[in-house]
């Protein structure tokens, strides 16, 4: 454990140093996470204004603002992108170099993930404040709801990280990882609630969203932070589901990693 902590903190330090070499690039990357929710906010607000009650799916305009504003932040802090990198690691032989080390390659990727978030904070943080002034979100969360919401965000981040990594392992079998990654991303948009609050979706799709993990990585923590989930039992149920998905994804990761490694040592090396 102490050994792992030493390795990961060293990796984190060096990944931060690397990110800082690419500060211009990471600012550009993180901009998309700002623009996309704002564009969706604009269209939803326009939709609400055309309705007689000035609402969309039961949300007033300041609530719509709060939804997309929170989604902007949650989306950023829970981001994971191993589906975009895994094929490259394998193709270029970097995976072999990483496998020679007595530590899971996953830790390096996780350090990179954290490093990106730490380094971009200096840029997105002020932008978030600016956006808050611009669109005036309305929050109703009690301190307790908010704290539970933060916990939900942490669980969401871990869930998304490990599920993305599991999906990325597909790269050990096929070079068409991009297509798989797109499906994951598309589902996160639609049934995860990144595109629109789940209440805006037609009934049957909401049922689908309930059984899939994506909602628990986006819409659920966002609604917790907004104070939309007022029934405490519902909040705890959601947190339990998150925890269950997290455990499941960890188990899935362990099993799939073993199989992927077997495959890798059988054919590519």
């Amino acid at each position: 454990m102490r050994r792992l902590a030493r390795a990961v903190s060293a990796l984190l330090r060096v990944e931060i140093a690397t990110m800082l070499q690419y500060r211009g690039e990471i600012v550009l990357w993180s901009t998309w996470g700002l623009v996309n929710p704002l564009v969706l906010y604009a269209i939803f607000k326009a939709g609400a204004m055309s309705n007689d009650n000035h609402q969309m799916a039961g949300l007033t305009v300041p609530q719509i603002a709060a939804y997309y504003f929170t989604m902007m932040i949650v989306g950023h802090v829970t981001a994971a992108w191993d589906t975009h990198e895994m094929s490259w690691y394998i193709r270029t032989g970097r995976m072999s170099a990483m496998l020679l080390r007595p530590i899971l390659p996953m830790w390096k990727s996780m350090a990179g993930n954290l490093a990106y978030k730490i380094c971009t904070l200096a840029f997105v943080g002020p932008m978030w404040i600016l956006v808050a002034f611009l669109i005036r979100p309305e929050f109703n969360a009690t301190p307790k709801q908010f704290m539970l919401g933060l916990l939900a965000v942490v669980l969401a981040g871990l869930m998304n990280y490990f599920l993305t990594y599991v999906v990325a392992l597909v790269a050990f079998w096929t070079t068409k990882l991009d297509a798989v990654g797109e499906i994951y991303f598309g589902l996160a948009m639609f049934v995860g609630g990144r595109l629109a609050p789940l209440d805006a979706l037609p009934g049957p799709i909401r049922v689908v969203a309930d059984v899939l993990p994506f909602k628990y990585m986006a819409a659920f923590p966002v609604e917790m932070l907004m104070g939309r989930i007022t029934v405490e039992a519902e909040a705890f149920r959601g947190l339990m589901v998150q925890a269950a998905w997290l455990v499941a994804s960890l188990i899935l990761f362990r099993c799939l990693w073993a199989v992927a490694l077997k495959r890798y040592t059988a054919v590519s090396g």
Binding site: V39, G47, M56
Partner: protein
């Protein structure tokens, strides 16, 4: 006079087609991803109009025309503009642009057509189909003058996009380390996914005159609605004027950049 450039274009196209033929399965996967993007675009429109009848004066059918336009333009950018501009950036960084300058053909023309990602035509076909269907929903048929206006506005829009990219690429003559300049474009382009009328006034103005995004997606979609009151002759004329202006401006800028390049490398 036009025969040689056309022949060149045909040659680059042929190489690209051969590439597609060699990697059929990859193509199938990519076409599938492309289809998914379109489904996602349509899905988002569907969700929005599941909750409201109109958005900033746009109905669902009209919004479909816009979805189509967004796909067509994005497709066009990926067929020609992105691959060529990437290559120009590479050439400038590696100093291999000299090979282009040695050819007895206009350099701007040559750097704009060297690479053709031919399978992306799927995006244009799909986009056009969606736009046409939206127009049909609005009018019960697809009026021919509307098609004409639509194509005209799209061409103006596409010219503007091209010039915008050319200027971005030209910047590379001064600032070599701007590989990720693509991201700048896609971040801005994202805002063109929906009609500019949904944005606050100051932003609408910015997206029309400072960054002419409105001419790229919103205005062509308005022209394609089949409703002549949707698009005023002023907008059409401004679009043409913008396209010409941007073309002249970007060519001029490109030539200045080239001068700097040959001056520096000599």
């Amino acid at each position: 006079m036009l025969r040689r450039p056309l022949k060149l274009m045909g040659l680059f196209l042929k190489v690209s087609v051969l590439n597609v033929a060699a990697y059929r399965f990859d193509m199938l996967v990519r076409v599938f991803v492309s289809l998914m993007h379109l489904v996602a675009d349509l899905g988002s429109v569907w969700i929005i109009f599941h909750n409201t009848k109109s958005v900033a004066g746009w109905t669902a059918a009209h919004m479909m025309v816009l979805v189509g336009v967004f796909r067509i333009v994005a497709g066009g950018i990926r067929i020609l503009i992105v691959p060529n501009m990437r290559r120009v950036l590479e050439d400038i960084m590696e100093g291999t642009l000299d090979f282009v300058l040695l050819r007895p053909v206009n350099a701007q023309f040559l750097v704009s057509i060297r690479e053709v990602v031919v399978w992306r035509i799927v995006d244009i076909v799909l986009g056009a189909a969606v736009s046409a269907y939206g127009c049909y929903q609005l009018n019960g048929h697809v009026p021919i003058q509307s098609v004409f206006l639509f194509v005209l506005m799209l061409s103006a829009g596409f010219t503007i996009v091209y010039c915008f990219w050319l200027m971005l690429a030209t910047l590379c003559f001064w600032f070599v380390r701007i590989q990720n300049i693509e991201m700048v474009f896609w971040n801005v382009f994202e805002a063109g996914r929906f009609p500019i009328q949904v944005y606050p006034n100051w932003l609408q103005w910015t997206l029309t005159y400072l960054i002419p995004l409105a001419f790229i997606t919103t205005f062509p979609a308005m022209a394609g609605s089949g409703d002549p009151t949707k698009i005023s002759p002023q907008i059409v004329l401004t679009a043409i004027f913008m396209a010409v202006l941007m073309f002249v401006l970007s060519s001029w800028f490109w030539r200045i950049g080239l001068k700097r390049y040959s001056g520096a490398s000599a």
